[in-house]
C-alpha cells in the first residue's frame, strides 16, 4: 500500500513536472480578465512582451500591447458572443528592421472563455511571415494566369514605359484611342496613383523577376474607373531591336477583374487594415516602407514621412469617453484619406498616432500637405452625445537623406520633429533638423508627449 507521504511526494513531483512543462512551452500563453488584467502568464510571453511594455509591467495584456496593437481592448469588449475566438493568429508588426534576431512580427490569438476571462497565445512568427510573403508573390502570378478572364488589353511598351502601339484590345478594355501611342503607360492609372519613379520601378522589377504585377483602380478614357490586374513582362526578343529607345521592350497586360474585387478587397482588409479606422495598419505600413526603401536604394529619389498625433487626446478620452475618442480618430482618418494621394500610404501606427509615407515627395511639398491636413482638422467638429468636440493635430515631417538609414531612422526623425511641434504649443507642423537629434530631452516615442 502506498503511504500518504509517498502520494504527497508523487503529487509534488507531478506538479513540478507540469510547471516545468509550462515554463518550457515554446509559445506564449496568457490568461487574463476580460479587461486584460493578467492572471497567469508563461515565460515566453514575458520574453516577447517585456520589450514592448510601455510601463515595464506585465499587469495588463492590452496595456503591454497598446503601443503596437491599439485596438485590442475595444475589439475584445465589442466581441458579441458569450464565448469563442475573438481573433486567431492576428499579425502584429513591431519594427521594420532586423536587429539581431529581434522579433519583428508577433501572432496573437485571443479566446474569450466567458464574460470574465480570456486566454491568449502569442508567437514570434517573423520567419514564417517572410516565407509566406514570397509564396504570396507566386500565388498572385498563378492567379493571373489561371483565373478565367473575360477580356484583356495587350500593349507593347518601350524602355521608358511609353506605349509603342495601339490595338483593338486596348480600345475594348480602356476606351483609349490611337492618340495614346507615345504616352507613358501611367495614362491607365488615376493621376494620384502613379509617380514617374514608380513607372520605371515596375519595369526594373519586371527585368529582375521576370514580371511585375499590381492590382488596383485604373482609369478608362471616359474617366470611369475599374478594378484591374496589370502585368508587365520583358519581351524575350527585345535585343533584336538593338539600342532603339522607342522599340518595344515589355508587354503590358491589363485585365478588368472588377467582379473579383469584392473578394480581394475583403482579404486585404482583414490583413492590412486597422480595425477602427480602416486605414493601413502597421503591417501594411512597414511593408510599403520596405518596398519604397528598396526602390530608393536602387534608384535614389525623394521620400517623405509625416507623423500625425492628435493633441491632448487623453483629455478627449477622459472627458467624453472612449467611444467619443474613437469617433475623433475615425474623423481624423477620414480627413487624412481625403488629403493624401492614392500613391501615399496612410496608416494608423498606434493609439492616436498616424503616419503617411509619401513617395517621390520633397520636404516643401510634404510640409505643405501636412499643413493642409492640420488646417482641415482644425475646422472639424465631431458630434458626441450632444457635445461637439473640436480637436487639433501636431505633425512631424522628415525626408529621406541620400541613402542613409531605413524606415526606423526616418520614423525616429519624424517623431523628433513631432515632439518639437508638441513642445512649441501643438496644432502645428515641424520639420526634422539636425539639431533635434542632438537635443537631449527628446523622448524616444512621441506618444509620451500627449
Amino acid at each position: 500500500m502506498i503511504g500518504a507521504a509517498d502520494s504527497v511526494e508523487s503529487l509534488r513531483a507531478e506538479h513540478e513536472a507540469l510547471m516545468q512543462f509550462l515554463y518550457l512551452a515554446p509559445v506564449g500563453l496568457v490568461q487574463a480578465g476580460i479587461d486584460g488584467e493578467i492572471v497567469m502568464i508563461n515565460p515566453i510571453s514575458a520574453q516577447l512582451l517585456m520589450p514592448l511594455s510601455p510601463d515595464g509591467c506585465l499587469t495588463n495584456l492590452f496595456t503591454a500591447l497598446e503601443g503596437v496593437a491599439p485596438g485590442l481592448r475595444l475589439e475584445c469588449a465589442q466581441f458579441p458572443k458569450p464565448n469563442g475566438m475573438v481573433f486567431e493568429g492576428v499579425h502584429i508588426h513591431l519594427c521594420a528592421e532586423d536587429r539581431r534576431g529581434t522579433p519583428q512580427i508577433l501572432s496573437l490569438t485571443l479566446l474569450k472563455l466567458d464574460d470574465a476571462r480570456v486566454m491568449a497565445v502569442i508567437q514570434d512568427v517573423t520567419a514564417e511571415v517572410r516565407r509566406e510573403r514570397q509564396l504570396r508573390q507566386s500565388d498572385a502570378w498563378l492567379n493571373a494566369i489561371l483565373t478565367r478572364i473575360s477580356d484583356y488589353a495587350l500593349a507593347a511598351i518601350d524602355r521608358q514605359g511609353r506605349l509603342c502601339d495601339w490595338n483593338d484590345s486596348i480600345a475594348r478594355v480602356t476606351g483609349f484611342g490611337e492618340h495614346i501611342v507615345g504616352s507613358p503607360y501611367s495614362i491607365f492609372y488615376p493621376p494620384d496613383a502613379m509617380t514617374n519613379e514608380h513607372l520605371l520601378d515596375r519595369l526594373r522589377e519586371a527585368d529582375s523577376n521576370g514580371w511585375s504585377m499590381d492590382e488596383g483602380l485604373r482609369l478608362r478614357a471616359d474617366g470611369s474607373q475599374y478594378w484591374c490586374s496589370a502585368l508587365i513582362a520583358p519581351l524575350p526578343d527585345r535585343e533584336a531591336f538593338g539600342d532603339d529607345p522607342s522599340a518595344p521592350a515589355y508587354c503590358l497586360i491589363l485585365r478588368d477583374i472588377s467582379d473579383k474585387r469584392a473578394a480581394t478587397e475583403k482579404r486585404r482588409q482583414a490583413a492590412f487594415c486597422d480595425h477602427l479606422t480602416e486605414l493601413a495598419n502597421r503591417r501594411a505600413f512597414f511593408e510599403a516602407a520596405e518596398l519604397e526603401f528598396d526602390r530608393a536604394a536602387h534608384t535614389p529619389r525623394a521620400l517623405a514621412l509625416i507623423v500625425f498625433d492628435a493633441d491632448h487626446f487623453k483629455h478627449v478620452n477622459d472627458r467624453y469617453g472612449h467611444p467619443a475618442g474613437d469617433r475623433v480618430l475615425c474623423d481624423l482618418a477620414g480627413v487624412l484619406r481625403d488629403t493624401f494621394r492614392a500613391v501615399d500610404t496612410v496608416a494608423r501606427l498606434g493609439g492616436e498616432e498616424f503616419a503617411v509615407l509619401l513617395p517621390s515627395t520633397g520636404i516643401e511639398q510634404a510640409l505643405a500637405s501636412a499643413e493642409r491636413l492640420r488646417l482641415a482638422v482644425s475646422t472639424r467638429l465631431v458630434a458626441a452625445d450632444g457635445a461637439e468636440i473640436a480637436y487639433t493635430v501636431s505633425a512631424g515631417v522628415a525626408v529621406l537623406d541620400a541613402g542613409a538609414g531605413g524606415i526606423d531612422l526616418l520614423l525616429k526623425r519624424a517623431d523628433e520633429a513631432l515632439y518639437q511641434a508638441k513642445a512649441a504649443g501643438r496644432n502645428r507642423v515641424a520639420a526634422w533638423t539636425d539639431e533635434l537629434t542632438h537635443h537631449a530631452d527628446t523622448p524616444q516615442r512621441s506618444r509620451n508627449a500627449g
Binding site: 511594455s53 509591467c57 536587429r99
Partner: protein, 131 residues
C-alpha cells in the same frame, strides 16, 4: 546566516558568490542563478528554487536562456550578456523586470553580473530580488 551575508546590491558581489558554499548561497534572501560561458546553469540557490517551484536537479546543467528562463531570452537580458562577452567587458547592470514565477507575473529587480574576459573565466550571474 550571520551578519556577513552579502546584500543584493553589494559591491564585488560576483567574487563573494564565487567563494560562497552552497549552504551560504541557500541562506541568501534573493535568488541566485549562476551559469557558465555556454549559458549552462551551474548553481541555483534555495530562494530561486522556491520562488520558481523548480528543484535544482531539474535546472543544473540546462541552458539558462532556452530551457530554464526563456523569459530572459531577449535584448533586455540575454543580449546584454552576449554583448559583454563579445566586447570582453564587465557587466554589472540592475534592471526592473517581470518574471513569470509559477506562471504569475512577479515584479523583480534583476542584477546581471559578468566579469571582464581575460581576467578569470568566472561564473555569470542573474540575481533576482522582488520589488
Amino acid at each position: 546566516m550571520t551578519s556577513t551575508s552579502p546584500t543584493f546590491d553589494a559591491r564585488g558581489l560576483a567574487d563573494i558568490l564565487d567563494a560562497s558554499s552552497p549552504e551560504q548561497l541557500d541562506a541568501l534572501d534573493f535568488g541566485v542563478i549562476a551559469f557558465d560561458a555556454e549559458s549552462k546553469v551551474q548553481r541555483y540557490n534555495a530562494f530561486e528554487s522556491q520562488a520558481a517551484g523548480l528543484s535544482p536537479q531539474r535546472v543544473i546543467g540546462e541552458p539558462l536562456f532556452t530551457n530554464v528562463a526563456p523569459c530572459l531570452n531577449n535584448f533586455m537580458v540575454a543580449q546584454r550578456f552576449e554583448d559583454a562577452a563579445d566586447e570582453g567587458s564587465e557587466l554589472d547592470d540592475t534592471i526592473d523586470y517581470v518574471l513569470t514565477l509559477r506562471m504569475r507575473p512577479v515584479k523583480v529587480k534583476l542584477r546581471l553580473l559578468a566579469s571582464a574576459n581575460g581576467v578569470a573565466p568566472g561564473m555569470r550571474y542573474v540575481l533576482v530580488q522582488r520589488r
